[in-house]
Symmetry: C2
Subunit: 363 residues, 2 copies
């Protein structure tokens, strides 16, 4: 069998990681601040990087904590805000690890449908009218994982109104924001309503995943609480990694890196959509405006479990739609195009189409 082609993992291929830029940033960091980089820091993160992030968001450093990856930031935020039995709104579908993390904490998870322009606000309103009192609404506003959809500006404003009216916090989880192919993303919700929103992002998609640097932006009181949790967990996050990211950001390497990643992803998304249209005309999807992921709906009744096995047998991998919802998703799948070249995408879709024909014929 030819080598496996993976549409499963939301990670960049090595050719779009600026390894030389990272090496130079490391070298520069060890020269310019050896003491700050090699010593214990504090749980707020490496101060120069914290300041750089604060500047980019137009907030004070006291509103930022830099963590070992944004998933660790999510965990601290949930520890601070979500108790056993608390209602939490998530998108349907949503990132599988967020679902797991909330369930592990005993949250009462309400999944609200996702439309091509983002959360189904009417469904959320019905949920709130029915008496649900969420503490938190977890939203991935740009190029959502797994759906690839983006929350419109109008829906962002309405969501903020609802958060203020019903007293819940919006958790704006935004790791993909920099990866827009064309045009401008709507303003972040945290910039519109800092009182009602906690924002998370990461350098995993703009620098590299192995560097494990993420962050939260929020009200100073909340950040102070989270800093205390982080101190108890690890004293300080990785100062060496954060100092490297700081140099990478301040030297301008990050802007070049983002441009490289964007261009590659734009091409990959385009090739994937064209290949799917050609080889699996039954597939329904919305061409993404950025990010890593394409959500594909197959005709109702398609057995995606069987498709998964038939695809693996042909050396192609994806994640089943059912992994991203509490229930349902049985005829959908997520294709990540971040880790595959255009040639691999074309070959992978051919294999997937072959698997699909087998499964469709059997049903």
């Amino acid at each position: 069998m030819a080598s496996t082609i993976s549409f499963a993992r939301g990670a960049p291929s090595l050719d779009i990681v600026d390894v030389d830029g990272l090496r130079a940033a490391a070298d520069q960091a060890f020269s310019s601040d050896p003491g700050g980089m090699t010593g214990y820091g504090t749980a707020v993160g490496y101060p120069p990087l914290r300041e750089w992030i604060a500047d980019r968001h137009g907030v004070r450093p006291e509103q930022v904590i830099v963590t070992n990856g944004s998933m660790q930031a999510d965990a601290f935020l949930f520890d601070a805000l979500v108790a056993d039995g608390d209602a939490v709104v998530v998108e349907r579908p949503t990132y599988d690890r967020t679902l797991l993390s909330l369930r592990r904490r005993g949250a009462d998870v309400h999944a609200v449908g996702l439309e091509p322009d983002g959360l189904d606000i009417a469904e959320l309103e019905r949920l709130l009218q029915s008496g649900a009192r969420p503490k938190l609404a977890h939203i991935i506003p740009n190029f959502q994982n797994p759906a690839g959809y983006t929350l419109s500006a109008a829906k962002r404003e309405r969501l903020i109104e609802l958060a203020r009216a019903h007293g819940f916090t919006i958790f704006e989880d935004d790791p993909y924001v920099a990866l827009r192919f064309t045009g401008e993303s709507p303003a972040t919700m945290v910039s519109r309503a800092p009182d009602a929103v906690v924002y998370a992002s990461s350098f995993s998609k703009t620098v590299c995943p192995g560097i494990r640097v993420g962050y939260l932006v929020g009200q100073p009181e909340l950040i102070t609480r989270i800093v205390a949790l982080a101190t108890g967990a690890y004293i300080s996050p990785n100062m060496v990694a954060q100092a490297i990211v700081n140099q990478f950001c301040r030297s301008g390497a990050i802007d070049r890196s983002i441009e490289t990643v964007r261009e590659a992803l734009r091409e990959r998304a385009s090739v994937l959509c064209r290949s799917l249209s050609e080889h699996i005309p039954q597939a329904r999807f919305v061409e993404p405006e950025g990010g890593y992921f394409l959500w594909v709906d197959l005709p109702e009744g398609t057995d995606v479990d069987a498709l998964f096995d038939a695809a693996v047998a042909r050396g192609v991998q994806f994640v089943k739609g059912s992994d991203f919802v509490l229930e349902g998703g049985a005829s959908s799948l997520r294709l990540a195009y971040s880790g595959v070249t255009p040639a691999e995408i074309q070959e992978g879709v051919r294999r997937l189409a072959d698997a699909y024909r087998e499964v469709a014929a059997a049903s």
Copy 2:
């Protein structure tokens, strides 16, 4: 006032950190394994470093998890083994963050006295005879924090017998083991009794704290459970930092670094003990055989709270003994000599002696 001299922080001064060696290790790591270093890893840690650690301990890689600092490893271990209300034995005095971490989990903490040759085994036996059923005994066997004492070989054997007889796990927390000034440390307990011991260590004291790399060695089943907890917390630890440590270890830089650190600490400990004997003859202490810390008992009734304030007023800092015990410790203090030069130590002890005279005269 002259600049502050800190005996408070258990951290190395920058002059004994091999910054050039770290820079070279980073450069080499980015060249030799850019994909493994920049990509998502898994929660087991960076595989080549995991293997290096396993080799050093004579165990299989499946018995090792490499984490973001050993404090994070401790937290995972407590999450895996300690439930609300479980009895846990600690040393009296012990590392303040361990006490906090256990209390936060609702552990029923039993503090057993520490003697110059380690845990007071007779006191532990009385505790066990009285019906205590600990799940875990947390032991810092070499150059204990805060006391600087080392557990003798005979007591290690007896502790293992008790663990097996009473069904508790020994948590051998050993970050200072490499920092012995002369002679050989007794064999690790995990090497004597892998069935009864989980071992933790760290590169904070042999590479640098800011690199945040620690690890656990244990039975494969326990490590598998902890890997699952780590996956849920952060997907993977810092691959960039772990790849740098891996190069630092495999190039031999770590052995040179340990020698530098050992020699510096040996001199600092010696200067500190001589200065104390000269300027505060009332101080009682055991000259350490390695590590970062000296525990000082002052005459009973000495008001160490007042001494702390008088010392701060003279520009010298230490940690009060009471911070390391559940109760008591009122006439003791911990002096860390890891972050201060011999000249600073001499000046710091002169200031401390001046503060002590003031406090002693007032009582």
